[in-house]
């Protein structure tokens, strides 16, 4: 469960399945980044370690990261991709959980942003007018 779920006065309880999974993730400027395809759960005491480990059954766990990318395929079809193929947004970058998850960093700084960034640099940005601001009067 996420940190918000730990009991205490004035703390909002967040249901991971209801309030986190499949929610839109926005960056600090409000630009969509991804959807929460899955969550990485790590042992609570190992969160800040360099090598977080999976929580053992029954042990307190925390959300370590938002997962996306290939995880969506395995959530649809079952199974689990190898950890090396995980695309992660670290949970420490999440600033607010509302009807969308708001990050405290810019999309460009995240690893999961690479398909968008690649297409921007190599395809869409190279077509004339690709960097033109449509809301500007031209």
């Amino acid at each position: 469960m996420s940190r918000e779920a730990s009991p205490g006065a004035g703390v909002r309880v967040v249901d991971a399945r209801l309030h986190l999974l499949s929610r839109q993730v926005l960056d600090v400027d409000g630009e969509p980044v991804t959807t929460v395809d899955d969550l990485e759960l790590v042992a609570a005491d190992a969160r800040d370690d360099d090598a977080p480990r999976d929580a053992a059954p029954g042990e307190p766990a925390e959300v370590g990261a938002i997962l996306t990318g290939p995880v969506l395929v395995t959530r649809l079809l079952g199974g689990r991709p190898p950890a090396s193929r995980w695309e992660r947004v670290p949970w420490r970058d999440v600033g607010h959980v509302g009807t969308a998850l708001e990050l405290t960093v810019r999309a460009d700084s995240l690893d999961v942003h690479w398909p968008e960034g690649w297409l921007r640099e190599h395809v869409v940005g190279r077509i004339p007018g690709g960097r033109h601001d449509p809301e500007e009067d031209s």
Partner: protein, 409 residues
């Protein structure tokens, strides 16, 4: 004064934007075969689209979340993925029909072969998506689409027996020559044409594009509640023109030139030219909306950056999706499939897909987490439940009716 102008502009755009190739073809076909005996379906469809467009606009304005983000969040990746596959395919079919409609209308105006117009039309659609400001795009297409009022003018010039037209409409009296299953097949098709699902994707995402907040809700309501019924009148005028000229002559509509025949007969070349400009604008506007909807649905399901208000490079995958969708549409049309047939298919499958879009919207419009104090009122919910039943019945009946009637033949 400026505010009043804004309201007027919004209403006019909604009227002109209501009719697309699906409404044009289906209303003309129905008019030429059943007279005005299916007008009640247009009324039911218009009330339905008013209800759901205002609901999805309200959800987007209040929560900032567009329709497919909500579908994904509510249904989870698997069910929403199936929904996406179906919605995307039907939306692509509608896009194909709209691009084909532009080409057919330009063919009427120029007698250059439609297949030469298809790539030109698609390129023009892409250029507008790539370059033009969202509000400008909306208003120009909507205002020029108002020229379809030429169908209404034509109806008056034809000087029909109004009493006879009303007798066909109330109580609905289908001609004895048509089978009752065919009557209901076209009822479903007409309902699908009036309530096409892409309009809901487009309305909710458009509210985000234009940065609506709870303050803009009043204007949204006026646009929809005044503009759509007046747009529905244009649909009825198209059907009535067909009922007056084509029904007695025994002409069954199978091409765009037959749809505009009553206009040419009543108003000559000038009125015909006006109506053709109206058809080009209406189908062009709808092609823009469906192309955008293909980008909206996919981007919102996968959480990509989307929106025409962003620089194309800041929503690269969204813009690429629209390019691919347009290329697919051109590819389908280049097989020389008849765009009118594609249109007839698209409206029936739209009816099948309706519950996929409307059920999640109805659920979220009642969710205080998203909507706060703007949740549905009792009247809206009562109407919403009635339409839920209608939409599900139409969706379930569509394919069996299509098979039983041989697609209405």
């Amino acid at each position: 004064m400026k505010k009043l102008l804004g309201v007027a502009l919004g209403i006019l755009t909604a009227i002109g934007g209501f009719v697309d190739i699906g409404d044009l073809v289906t209303n003309a076909v129905v008019g030429s075969r059943f007279g005005l005996s299916l007008v009640w379906v247009v009324v039911v469809g218009v009330v339905g689209i008013c209800l759901f467009a205002s609901m999805s606009g309200r959800v987007a304005a209040v929560s900032g979340r567009a329709t497919f983000e909500i579908i994904r969040e509510r249904l989870g990746p698997r069910a929403a993925g199936a929904n996406l596959a179906a919605s995307f395919a039907i939306n692509l079919l509608t896009l194909t029909a709209e691009v084909g409609g532009i080409a057919l209308a330009l063919h009427l105006a120029s007698s250059v072969e439609p297949r030469l117009w298809i790539p030109v039309a698609a390129l023009a659609v892409w250029l507008v998506l790539w370059r033009v400001k969202f509000a400008v795009m909306e208003n120009v297409a909507g205002l020029l689409g108002l020229l379809l009022v030429g169908f209404g003018v034509a109806l008056f010039l034809l000087g029909p027996d109004w009493g006879e037209l009303v007798r066909q409409a109330v109580p609905p009296s289908p001609p004895a020559t048509e089978h009752v299953a065919t009557y209901w097949y076209y009822a479903v098709a007409l309902f699908g044409a009036a309530m096409t699902p892409y309009e809901v994707f487009f309305f909710s995402s458009g509210a985000v594009e234009e940065g609506w907040t709870a303050k803009d809700l009043a204007q949204n309501r006026v646009n929809v509640l005044v503009g759509f019924p007046l747009g529905g009148l244009l649909s009825v005028a198209i059907a009535a023109c067909a009922a007056v000229v084509l029904l007695p002559a025994g002409i069954e509509v199978s091409s765009l030139s037959q749809i505009v025949l009553p206009v040419a007969q009543a108003g000559g070349t000038l009125l015909l030219a006006v109506v053709i400009v109206g058809i080009v604008a209406a189908t062009f506007g709808a092609a823009l909306e469906t192309a955008l909807s293909s980008g909206y649905t996919l981007a919102q399901y996968l959480g990509w950056s989307w929106g025409k208000f962003r620089r194309p490079a800041r929503a690269a995958r969204f813009h690429l999706t629209m390019v691919v969708a347009l290329l697919l549409a051109v590819g389908i049309l280049m097989t020389s499939v008849d765009p009118v047939t594609v249109t007839e298919m698209s409206v029936v499958f739209s009816a099948v897909a309706l519950p996929l879009t409307y059920v999640p919207i109805l659920l979220v419009a009642n969710d205080p987490e998203y909507m706060g104090e703007h949740v549905n009122g009792r009247v809206t919910n009562a109407l919403g439940m009635v339409y839920l039943v209608i939409v599900v019945v139409a969706a379930v009946a569509a394919v069996p009716l299509m098979i039983a009637t041989g697609a209405g033949s």
